[in-house]
Symmetry: C2
Subunit: 191 residues, 2 copies
DNA sequence: GATAAAACGGAGAGTGTCTCCGTATAGATA
DNA sequence: TATCTATACGGAGACACTCTCCGTTTTATC
């Protein structure tokens, strides 16, 4: 039996405002880091501060919302890679993509921290998606015998976040690539 | 010829205040992270805000000062380890110590970021010391044939900072240990 | 068009940052 | 010891950011 939901159709302007805020926020966070002024974002999105805070009660909520689409892309990529590549290659490809997607933004610090169970318990949704992706990749590579059985997928995720976090240096892309390789080599089954 | 420095003996109270501020700052940064209120720190140290800002013009300057003693301890440890352990063991021991010293504090994020050449160019002094330490350890282990010749010490440092950064999760100590081992394994010479 | 639920917006209180400058004092000098 | 002045102190206050509250406006519906 369907639940009675006599709610009327949601207002169009609210939805539009929400999207405009997200758009501006993404730009601002990328430009000036996770401490960008929320009032500035509201102003640039041509809404009042109240509107921004109604949609996103906290800074973290806004960050997560901005960041969610990236997470979804990553989760999708995992599936695709797993279908088209061998276990190790798909893991490596995904790790590199992770660094690319996440590290390039300046949002990282606060967003990622809670991905790995940091102080705040936010971002629960995103966290699950990412964890699911790395779990799948690692378990597949363990089953195929490429990775050590005692490897904790979560450890790898932590390291990856670390790598991403540090990705602000000039040659970060090269460095990240080298580090991903080190991590994978260190995770392989002993010969 | 010595430069004329007819400066009189520095005032004792200034020095005392400086030290008291550092002490309080360390406590506060550890307790509530790098965004602790500077005015609060000043108040608890029983000085005016002006005094705090005269000694440490920016938040970063204060963080670096707090953080400098830890860096010095790390540099010292590198020498000791290198004298008393085999190359790989000394590297591992130092890496674990790094995580211990740095990650346990909540200062990490902003402080470490510039260690690896992040946006700001602060912390120059500390940076040199840490880099010197990891360089020495890695080069020694390369010479002894334990690590791959093409390993970039700086990459390892980046990963290490990453590991530290993520060290806020419950079982961080265990996870860090596992990750350090993965990194070292991945850096060894191919068999 | 009338109605009420939904959403807006911006003034303003609370808090933190950082500066400025009048006041206090430690060390030099005699 | 008394005096002098470079040095340092401190906190009021201007400015910036966060977040809430509530009177006003807009939308979907009938």
């Amino acid at each position: 039996m369907a639940v009675k939901t006599p709610t009327r159709k949601p207002r169009a302007d609210a939805q539009q405002n929400r999207e405009r805020i997200l758009e501006v926020a993404k730009k601002e966070f990328t430009r000036s880091g996770p401490n960008a002024s929320l009032d500035d974002i509201a102003r640039e999105a041509a809404v009042g501060a109240g509107t921004l805070y109604r949609h996103f009660p906290t800074r973290d909520a806004l960050i997560e919302a901005v960041y969610r689409t990236e997470v979804e892309k990553l989760a999708a990529a995992q599936k695709k890679f797993s279908e088209t590549m061998c276990p190790i290659d798909s893991l490596r490809a995904w790790m590199l993509l992770f660094v690319d997607y996440i590290a390039a933004k300046q949002i990282i610090a606060p967003a990622l921290n809670s991905l790995v169970g940091g102080p705040t318990k936010l971002y629960e949704g995103s966290r699950g998606q990412i964890q699911g992706a790395i779990d799948a990749l690692v378990h597949r590579a363990i089953k195929s015998g490429d990775l050590r059985k005692d490897l904790e997928p979560f450890d790898l995720l932590r390291a990856l976040i670390g790598v991403s976090y540090v990705a602000s240096s000039p040659d970060w892309r090269q460095s990240a690539k080298r580090l991903v390789d080190i991590l994978i080599t260190g995770s392989r089954t002993a010969k």
